[in-house]
Amino acid sequence: MRMSARILGGVLLLLSVVTGLVWYAALSEDHRGILSVTFLDVGQGIAVFVEALQVSGSSSTAGPMIRY
């Protein structure tokens, strides 16, 4: 019984450490955004495609926008 409690405590401690490491990695990641503005020749006018992206390469959070 006492042995089981120690094992359980060890597992919980390990899980806590892993959870802490995951949160540390997530929060310390570089989340600076960049804005990409692309000018496209579409004949008589210009189309402009705007996209806000995360530096880490995750999906866009703003835009895109098209303008003619």
């Binding site: 600076r32 955004g33 960049i34 804005l35 990409s36 503005v37 692309t38 000018f39 496209l40 020749d41 579409v42 004949g43 008589q44 006018g45 210009i46 189309a47 402009v48 495609f49 705007v50 996209e51 806000a52 866009s60 959070t61 703003a62 835009g63 895109p64 926008m65 098209i66 303008r67 003619y68």
Partner: protein, 197 residues
């Protein structure tokens, strides 16, 4: 933008000339667009009317229509904002080519100014706080007065390929002039500075 992504967060329709607005009707039919910015000025051209019909259909499906008016600021999310500078009045009675929206896209300390070459800019620019126009990149038609170019004072001036306007004003102001002829240009802003890729 991946081929399977069929959504655009926002469309800004500027010029309403038939040869320039026609493509947006197809864009609306192919992409889900939650927000549209356009001027209250309307063109009678069939292509512009088709676009108006497409916008109305999109509104029926929940798209929000913003009428471009000086002072309107739209938050695009991700730190990007659009501020409308023109029309500075009710444009519903204005000819479409006069009432086109001019706006500034802002991201951190960097910004992109989109001029539409409205003839009204000659008088409008004299009523402005010129420092508000300052931007890193200017999309120009080349028809703007020199004082406007001086106010914006961009690092780059972008001319549409079809423009026959002179870039001499920008050259005189030592502004780098670029054209979209046979090339696609991408600028990257990190919020502090703008780089041409």
């Amino acid at each position: 933008m991946p081929f399977y992504d069929r959504s655009l967060d926002m469309i800004v329709a500027t010029a309403q000339a038939p040869q320039t607005i026609g493509g947006l009707t197809d864009v609306l039919s192919r992409y889900g667009v939650p927000s549209i910015i356009r001027s209250a000025a309307r063109s009678g051209a069939p292509q512009a009317q088709a676009f108006t019909t497409a916008v109305s259909a999109a509104e029926a499906h929940g798209t929000r229509l913003f009428i471009a008016q000086c002072g309107v600021i739209v938050d695009l999310g991700g730190g990007a904002k659009v501020e409308i500078f023109f029309p500075d009045r009710d444009a519903s009675a204005m000819p479409a080519e006069d009432g086109c929206p001019m706006f500034k896209l802002m991201f951190g300390k960097t910004s992109f100014f989109f001029s539409c070459g409205t003839p009204a800019i000659e008088t409008y620019v004299t009523t402005l706080d010129g420092s508000k126009l300052s931007s890193d990149v200017l999309l120009t038609t080349g028809d703007e007065p020199e004082i406007f170019a001086g106010f914006v004072s961009p690092q780059y001036a972008i001319f549409p390929c079809a423009s026959n306007a002179s870039s001499s004003v920008f050259v005189k102001l030592q502004i780098q002039v670029e054209s979209t002829c046979n090339r696609t240009m991408t600028f990257i802003s990190d919020g502090s500075s703008v780089q041409l890729q």
